[in-house]
C-alpha cells in the first residue's frame, strides 16, 4: 500500500510537468497577449510593460521563470497587478471549496437514496418517479437552472439574495443548483450499480441464509453497488471544488473558476499557469483517491 502510493505520487510528477509545459506554450503561441485588449498603448509603454513582467526575454528564459513561479506562487498577476498568483488562489479557493463541498453533500444526500430506492423495485413507480426527476436534472444545464431558482426563490419569494457570497443564506441557491445537477448523475449511477450487484449470486446466498432486506442492502450490496458512483465522483469532485465558472458567474461568487477563465481570456500567463497547475494536481490527487477507494470497495481490485 505505502509502496503503491509512493510510486503513484512519483508518477504524477512528469504528468504535472507536461501539463505545465503544454499550458505555457499553448498560451504563449495563441494569438493575442495580455495587453491587446487595452487600445492604443504607445509602443514605448508597451515595451516597458512587457519588460516589467519579463515578457520581453527569450522564450526559454520565460519558460524557466514560469516553472519556478509554479513552485513558489510568487509571480505577480498581470491583470490584477497588486496580487501574486499564490494570493489569488489562497483567497478564492476556500470559496470554491466550500461551495463544492456543500454541492457534493447535497448531491449525495439526494442522489444515493433516490438511486437505491429505484433499484429496490425496478420498472415500478418507485423506479420511474426518481429516475424521471434525475433525467430532468441531467438535461437542465446549470446556466438554465441557476437563473430559474434565482427567479423563483430570490425574486418571487424573496427568501435569499439573488447573488453574492456574504451571508450564510447566500450559500443555499448556488449549492442547490450545483448539487441538484450532480445528484441526477449520482442517482442514475447508483441505480445501475445496485441493480447489477443485486442480481448476483452472493446476494441470493445472503437472502437464502435469511439476512433481512436492510442488512443485505447495507452489508452486502452497497459496497459493490457504489463502485460506479465512486469512479464518477473522483473527477467530478475535483471539478467541483476547483470552482464552477457558470455558477460563479450566475451568482457572482468570487471563486477560483472565474479567475481561471478570466485569466485565459486575458492571457494572464502567471494566473493561467498557477490555476491550471493547481487544478491538475487536484484531479490527479482525486484519481489516486478513487483508485484506493475502489480497492477498498472491491476485493477483486488489487493495488500494484
Amino acid at each position: 500500500m505505502a509502496r503503491f502510493l509512493l510510486i503513484r505520487l512519483l508518477q504524477t510528477l512528469p504528468v504535472l510537468w507536461a501539463v505545465a509545459t503544454l499550458t505555457f506554450f499553448m498560451v504563449r503561441y495563441a494569438p493575442g497577449g495580455p495587453f491587446t485588449a487595452e487600445k492604443n498603448i504607445p509602443p514605448e509603454i508597451l515595451k516597458r510593460l512587457e519588460a516589467h513582467y519579463g515578457l520581453d526575454k527569450p522564450l526559454s528564459e520565460q519558460y524557466v521563470a514560469f516553472l519556478k513561479s509554479l513552485v513558489t506562487g510568487q509571480q505577480p498577476s498581470i491583470r490584477h497587478s497588486n496580487r501574486t498568483v499564490g494570493e489569488i488562489i489562497r483567497k478564492s479557493f476556500p470559496v470554491s471549496l466550500e461551495l463544492g463541498a456543500w454541492a457534493l453533500l447535497i448531491a449525495l444526500a439526494i442522489g444515493l437514496p433516490a438511486g437505491m430506492l429505484a433499484a429496490q423495485k425496478p420498472n415500478s413507480a418507485q423506479d420511474y418517479v426518481p429516475m424521471s426527476a434525475a433525467m430532468v436534472g441531467v438535461c437542465l444545464p446549470t446556466f438554465v437552472l441557476g437563473p430559474m431558482v434565482v427567479l423563483f426563490f430570490a425574486l418571487k419569494l424573496g427568501w435569499f439574495h439573488t447573488s453574492g457570497w456574504n451571508t450564510p443564506g447566500d450559500r443555499v441557491l448556488p449549492a442547490l443548483t450545483l448539487g441538484f445537477h450532480l445528484a441526477a448523475y449520482v442517482a442514475r449511477l447508483t441505480r445501475g450499480g445496485m441493480l447489477e450487484v443485486m442480481g448476483q449470486d452472493f446476494i441470493r446466498t445472503a437472502r437464502a441464509k435469511g439476512a433481512s432486506g436492510l442488512r443485505i442492502l447495507t452489508r452486502h450490496a452497497l459496497r459493490g453497488g457504489l463502485l460506479p458512483v465512486v469512479t464518477f465522483l473522483g473527477p467530478a469532485a475535483a471539478g467541483l471544488i476547483t470552482g464552477s465558472f457558470v455558477i460563479e458567474t450566475v451568482f457572482n461568487i468570487p471563486g477560483l473558476g472565474k479567475y481561471f477563465v478570466g485569466s485565459v481570456f486575458d492571457r494572464d500567463i502567471p494566473v493561467v499557469g498557477g490555476t491550471v497547475f493547481f487544478f491538475s494536481a487536484i484531479i490527479l490527487f482525486f484519481n489516486l483517491v478513487v483508485d484506493v477507494a475502489q480497492a477498498w470497495l472491491n476485493p477483486k481490485v488489487r493495488l500494484e
Binding site: 499553448m26 444545464p141 446556466f143 465558472f245 477563465v261 491550471v276 491538475s280
Partner: protein, 249 residues
C-alpha cells in the same frame, strides 16, 4: 381432409435477421418508440426551419411565418400569443423560430463534433490497444496528460487559434471529447487481441491494418455506440457552455 392438399414437407419457417430482431424488440418498448418519434419530429422541424415561413404563408398559419431575425421593436418581450407561439425576445423577435434555428446549430454540433470525437477516439484507441507495449504506454500517458488539463483552457485557446468559423468550432469540441472514447476502445481492443479468432487472422497472414479495420473495430462497436449516444448531448451542452463564455455561435 383431402390428402393431396397436404404439402409434402412443412414450409421452412422464415428466419429473423438481426435487424428484424432488433426492430421487433424496439417495437415492444413503447417508451423508446415515443422518444424516437419526438426526437425525430423535433429534428425534422429544425431541419425544415428555413422553408417554414413560405409554407406558413401558403397555409395561412401566422405562427410559422416569422424570419429568425425579423424585429418588431414595439412588441418588446411579449408573452406567447397566437401570432408568436412562444412569445418574443427583448428585441421583438419570434422565439419559436429562433428556437428552431438554435436547434439547427445544436443538431449540427451534435453530429459533427461527435463524428470528430468518434473518429479520433476509435482510431487512437484501436492503434494503442492493438500495438501495445511501449507505444501503448506512451499514447495512454498522453491521454492522461490531456485529461489532467482543464478542457476549458483547451477549448478557449483552440477557438481563438482556429478562428470563429462554425466547422472549426465543431472540430475544437470534438478534439476535447475523444479522450474517454479512446480509453474505452483501447481496453476492448487490448482484451480482444488475445482471442483465438484474431490469432487465426494473424496466422492466415492478414496485415495489421486489415485486422484492425475488419476484425477489431466491428467487435468494439457495442460499447462505442453506447458511449456515442452519451457524447451527442455532452457536446451540445459544451457548445452551449461556449456560447455562455461568448465563444459560441
Amino acid at each position: 381432409m383431402n390428402p393431396a392438399t397436404v404439402p409434402i414437407s412443412e414450409p421452412v419457417e422464415a428466419g429473423h435477421s438481426l435487424w428484424q430482431d432488433a426492430w421487433a424488440r424496439l417495437r415492444k418498448n413503447k417508451l423508446a418508440l415515443a422518444s424516437a418519434f419526438i426526437v425525430t419530429a423535433l429534428g425534422l422541424l429544425c431541419v425544415a426551419a428555413p422553408v417554414l415561413p413560405p409554407l406558413g404563408k401558403a397555409l395561412g398559419v401566422t405562427g410559422l411565418t416569422h424570419a429568425y431575425d425579423a424585429q418588431d421593436l414595439a412588441l418588446g418581450a411579449a408573452p406567447p400569443s397566437a401570432k408568436h407561439w412562444l412569445g418574443t425576445d427583448h428585441l421583438g423577435r419570434d422565439q419559436f423560430t429562433r428556437l428552431l434555428y438554435g436547434g439547427r446549430v445544436s443538431l449540427m454540433v451534435g453530429a459533427c463534433a461527435t463524428g470528430v470525437a468518434l473518429t479520433i477516439g476509435v482510431l487512437y484507441g484501436a492503434i494503442s490497444g492493438f500495438i501495445g507495449g511501449k507505444l501503448d504506454a506512451l499514447m495512454m500517458r498522453l491521454v492522461d496528460i490531456l485529461y489532467a488539463l482543464p478542457f476549458t483552457l483547451f477549448v478557449i485557446l483552440l477557438t481563438v487559434w482556429l478562428g470563429r468559423e462554425l466547422w472549426l468550432l465543431f472540430a475544437a469540441i470534438g478534439a476535447v471529447e475523444w479522450l474517454t472514447m479512446a480509453r474505452i476502445v483501447r481496453g476492448q481492443v487490448a482484451s480482444l487481441k488475445r482471442t483465438e479468432f484474431v490469432e487465426a487472422a494473424h496466422a492466415l497472414g492478414l496485415r495489421k491494418r486489415r485486422i484492425i479495420l475488419r476484425h477489431m473495430i466491428p467487435n468494439v462497436i457495442g460499447p462505442v455506440i453506447v458511449y456515442t449516444t452519451l457524447t451527442v448531448p455532452a457536446v451540445m451542452l459544451l457548445e452551449a457552455f461556449l456560447s455562455f463564455l461568448g465563444l459560441g455561435v
